[in-house]
Chain length 459, copies 2
Amino acid sequence: MAKGASLSGFPEWLPEERFVEQQAMDTLRSVFSLHGFQGIETRAVELGSSLLKKGETSKEIYLLSRLQEVGSENDTPVEDRMGLHFDLTVPLSRYVVEHSGDLVFPFKRWQMQKVWRGERPQEGRFREFTQADIDVVGNGQLPDHYEVELPLIMVEALEALRPLGCPKATVHANNRKLSEGFYRAIGLTDIEGVLRTIDKIDKIGPDEVVRELKETCSANDTQAQACLALAQITATSGRQLRESFDQLCASVEVTAANEHYALAMEGIATLEKIVDGAAAIRPGAVIADLKIARGLDYYTGSVYETFLDGAASLGSICSGGRYDNLATQGSHTYPGVGLSIGLSRLVSHMLHVSGAHANRQSPASVLVAVWDEAHRAQSDAIARALRTRGIATDVAPAAQKIGKQIRHADRLGIPYVWFPAFEGQPEEVKNIVTGEQIEADVASWLPEEQYATQHVVLD
Amino acid sequence: MAKGASLSGFPEWLPEERFVEQQAMDTLRSVFSLHGFQGIETRAVELGSSLLKKGETSKEIYLLSRLQEVGSENDTPVEDRMGLHFDLTVPLSRYVVEHSGDLVFPFKRWQMQKVWRGERPQEGRFREFTQADIDVVGNGQLPDHYEVELPLIMVEALEALRPLGCPKATVHANNRKLSEGFYRAIGLTDIEGVLRTIDKIDKIGPDEVVRELKETCSANDTQAQACLALAQITATSGRQLRESFDQLCASVEVTAANEHYALAMEGIATLEKIVDGAAAIRPGAVIADLKIARGLDYYTGSVYETFLDGAASLGSICSGGRYDNLATQGSHTYPGVGLSIGLSRLVSHMLHVSGAHANRQSPASVLVAVWDEAHRAQSDAIARALRTRGIATDVAPAAQKIGKQIRHADRLGIPYVWFPAFEGQPEEVKNIVTGEQIEADVASWLPEEQYATQHVVLD
């Protein structure tokens, strides 16, 4: 992060860092497009009523008020005020309902935008960051093969970021129906409470989870231990998943006769498809991990979190799931499934742990020297000619001593300095990295390949 | 604009419109990079004290408050609250001061981001829109050749947008020193008042300008008429500019002996350079137009506005100027010059007047058909093979009747439907535009050039 950023939680990159983020965004866009996703952008603001859907007032939202209204903004109820979006899923739902007549369903879209969370400044978390999302939204219904495909596309996208410093990614998948069916089958009813507690397992540890389940979710010790046992199941194949689950059910005497068993089986079936489907194409990329709960309340089926090798402290950098009831129009629903990359956090890791940075600060390959200000037009003409041929070119800011002009190129990382013809001297170009200086013609000269572009390198 | 957008002033595009905006942004980025500009992004929020610099409280700013603070947000003075940036120049100034140690000066940067203006909803103006800016910022001083170069780079950038539906652009340039020197020379002192009135000339007409100058800027009739005469000067060459100006000065008895004449001459000299410099490279692209005043108060030298052929009602779509005192650190200053394209307004014109749109809704060239859900893996494998070769490919959402699958491709504008080998039938691909169907091999087949990419077309 750029040093001295004056507002905590609002990261800003230096130009050579921003270049890495830009390359990452270009790469993601290209993968998403290759899979037929359409790019959209939604407005940064939504009405309070959308942002607070389901009555969640614990959400960390920034509300807006016009400067001219300061002092009277609270005359308007929060539901009718505008706030900055905190993710790209809620806006997508609103967009889909609003433009349903103009979209082709299932609607596959990618979206990369800033989102804002009105966290307390002292928490040291990002309050502004970029998310990169893909979602597929159906009209009325949505086939579950998308629950298999989407995490795989995200793995492919994260693979494509590895040359930019992204470590190997593994998607951990679970299913809300599986969890809910099991919890109900063993007699628990506060499903959201249990999920919320399980979600904290990596933070507070298994003992604390059991304690909290008993204390806040009315679980007895057997139930709490069963929830913990479920959360501790992981599997790399459908068969392994089903075996572990059957074993657990047997140990707590849950059988097919239990009225909630069918719901759990629905979840198992989808999760099996996901794990086996992924294993057939990209072994190890997606595993079943039954502790994955996800904080957001709108998920109704598959849920995903993604972890990077050797970067446990980052937490999940790509999360999502299936949501059947987020977008509705009267009784009509638009079920969706999607995942979201926390791009700012990921880029921060790429920059500061993997050491990704631009090989040079300026996109220019050439700096044209200026002998004196009266001859600046000559240097400008050379720059124009090189640019016409696609060679990014800058011109020295001032006709200083040539040593100073070369130093300027060097500070920007520009590899070539071009010397216009002058007092009988021919046109020449100097590679200031190797020191080689040759006669050159603007109409045909090309930079050597390794000096031709601004690109990302790792330390 | 997407129909039914539910918040006035917050434009949202449909996917095939957003594609045009995205292409425009890619094009601008590529032109700016070719000239050696570095891309940065600044946070969306600034402190009230930055946004309200110079005490301008008339600015249309959105302030933020955390949901948790509603009711107590006004305990904090506006200067210490966060607000959304209303342009990209104020954030650049703050960024440059904050990171001066990490930047190479003169710092050439491009930046494309959303900005927000807390306008009244009923005014029907954009309250959220994208700007595309270039600026050069010096450390302590900045050579004035950048005042010649920057408008020319913007003309080149706008030229590059013409295949996307942008009309021919002309930059109209003026100089604050010229105006101020002249106003003072004829005895006026409320320089900002006069500039503000002159700025309205196209809206309210010359008679009203004269009336207002007399009423609100303490001008007598001779002075008001002289201001109007100055505003009516245009020139396509330095010589023409100086002749018109000399003539006007003679008519109001302003001579070199006047203590303010030198300031006006400084402005004339820079403006001459701009007009002649531009004429030498791109005749007609930049003209002197002495009615250009610019609303923002931070300009100190050159000011620019840009108009499109046949789109007078759009107003200026690319404006800017030189600002010597915006970024300061103690007594140290970072003078800059820059221009900003009002990209949302321009894209709106490209879409709705020039009829620009994506040739198809989906980026995919191919939709792979699915014979039945049990064989989806076969279709997925074909899609993967095509994508590996860079061919954007989608797979049918459901194993419906083939006619329905073809209709799905058609609605998305996907030109090819791929039929996997099935019951002894070989692999085939059908161009659903021409109806041609051929045997094909995923390892070698290529779409015909005209069907190969999603791109922008004009109606």
